[in-house]
Amino acid sequence: MELLTDSFISAILLIFSLDPEVLSIVWVSLKVSGISTFFASLMGVPLGFLIAYGSFKGKRILIICLNTMLALPTVVIGLFVYSFISRRSILGSLDLLYTQKAIVIGQIILILPIVATLTIAAISRIDERYRKTAMTLGANRRQTACVIFREARFGIVAAVIAAFGRVIAEVGISMMLGGNAKGFTRTMTTAMALEYDKGEFILAVALGIILLVLSFGINLIFNFFQGRTRA
């Protein structure tokens, strides 16, 4: 018990002292996750939109593939990207490995299917009559798409938030592609893994608390938006 209470009290003190190391780690985490969520959404939302909205050959197969990719473990993605950007491989000269960019690449692969499938789900939930109504009122394809996008916007925001929640809590890719370099690629989760290895739990517990609070907040917002779509 002493271990837990000691760690917990020190962790709280650490958080409220706005320790620069903690701040730097939290900042790196938020920044990297934010950037990967941004790019994944930039690609995933239109992709999901096109798949849900369009009718073309292989649509079902594509959706099945995306759903399969949802189950892709982070270590597999890490290994895959690693094998491309390691110094000895094709893209080695770009010196990407163990940088924030490398983490972003891996994380985009991780959450692109999440954004796309949740966008597809959000669009599919939208009543078919919206499309028909927009068309009969004279809307062209782009304008009709805008209507559907507007009606599905809460669902799409929920998709983006879910993706962010996934990357902020992800450890495999950040560790394998970022390498946990202090001040550069050390994120909340990799720092926690490291602190455990060191046998020092205070920083780990502090980061754990911050991560939980963040996740809680993210889920609150997610819930809010999900509720809005159903109403």
């Binding site: 002493e2 190391e21 000895r88 370099a181 720092a191 060191k198």
Partner: protein, 299 residues
């Protein structure tokens, strides 16, 4: 009725078997040991532990971690014995009453690794501290364990005698309700070239090789990555042989006065066996890719 049958016919026998199995296991001579990644990764334990079981019947569950975590396991009573390489901290561990006695087992040495083109021009340097100073002056990339391990402890000690201006970061923590400080020492204004990644030795070597950087490693792990893998690394030894790079390993049974549940008797027996002539000669004769990794203490 059906549910009752299920309980009688399936669940109860399973519980019974588990109980019997558990008791049987409990009577077995098994101890838990926290050790550093270097002893396990080098393959030494694979040679020693089967012989130990043959001689004494003791089986060892091994938890390989950084030295800091291994010592922490000892402090918390998670293990019966620790086998690590950070002499000062081991002595402190005994002095504070967590362990009964430190037995010196063996030693090996650290080496400073670097890329072939050697931007800091330290190849052949026999003074380890001067080599680090050279890296700092050239601001060549250096990868640090940064994980409070034995290697990290040694690295910080080397920086302290290198004459380079240093920064010390102190973090206050609570231990048993008392405030304690932990310190991290690293070169001043080194943001651009000093990278602390807080991972195991193997990861550090891969990282350093990827970034073509310098690092401090134990010889065993280096040999394993240089010659023991299909895809070799490019890093070379830049500095070796300094007496300061010596790396002693000790084994310490956890104090039963602190943690009454530990199997102290078996742990003592294990430690005694490690320093016996037989184990010591096993250590002396162990070779990895034709290289001697460990030198027994009493040989």
């Amino acid at each position: 009725m059906k549910r009752r049958n299920l309980i009688l016919k399936v669940i109860l026998p399973v519980i019974a078997i588990l109980l019997i199995y558990g008791v049987a296991l409990g009577e077995d001579k098994i101890i838990k040991m926290a050790t550093t990644t270097s002893t396990q990764a080098s393959g030494l334990l694979d040679i020693l532990l089967p012989e130990l079981e043959k001689d004494t019947g003791i089986r060892v569950k091994v938890f390989a971690k950084g030295t800091g975590a291994a010592i922490r396991d000892g402090i918390d009573g998670n293990v019966d014995v620790i086998f690590v390489h950070a002499k000062e901290r081991e002595e402190k561990f005994v002095k504070e009453g967590y362990g009964t006695k430190r037995y010196a087992v063996m030693h090996n040495d650290f080496v400073i690794l670097g890329p072939l083109d050697d931007p800091a021009h330290i190849q052949g340097q026999s003074d380890a501290a001067a080599a680090l100073a050279g890296i700092a002056k050239a601001e060549a990339l250096f990868i640090s364990r940064g994980d409070d391990s034995g290697t990290h402890t040694k690295e910080q000690a080397l920086w302290k005698i290198s004459g380079i201006p240093l920064e010390v970061r102190k973090t206050e923590i609570l231990k048993k309700g008392k405030k304690t400080e932990i310190c991290f020492t690293f070169p001043e204004n080194s943001m651009a070239w000093y990278i602390s990644i807080g991972q195991g030795m193997g990861k550090i070597i891969i990282f350093a090789d990827e970034k073509q950087a310098y690092t401090l490693s134990d010889r065993g792990t280096y040999i394993k990555y240089k010659y023991g893998r299909k895809e070799s690394i490019d890093l070379e030894i830049m500095c070796e042989g300094d007496s300061f790079l010596n790396n002693p390993y000790g084994v310490i049974p956890v104090n039963p006065a602190r943690h009454p549940h530990v199997k102290h008797e078996l742990a003592e027996k294990f430690a005694g066996w490690l320093i016996s002539p037989k184990a010591q000669s096993l250590i002396a004769n162990y070779r990895l890719m034709g290289n001697q990794l460990f030198y027994p203490w009493n040989f």
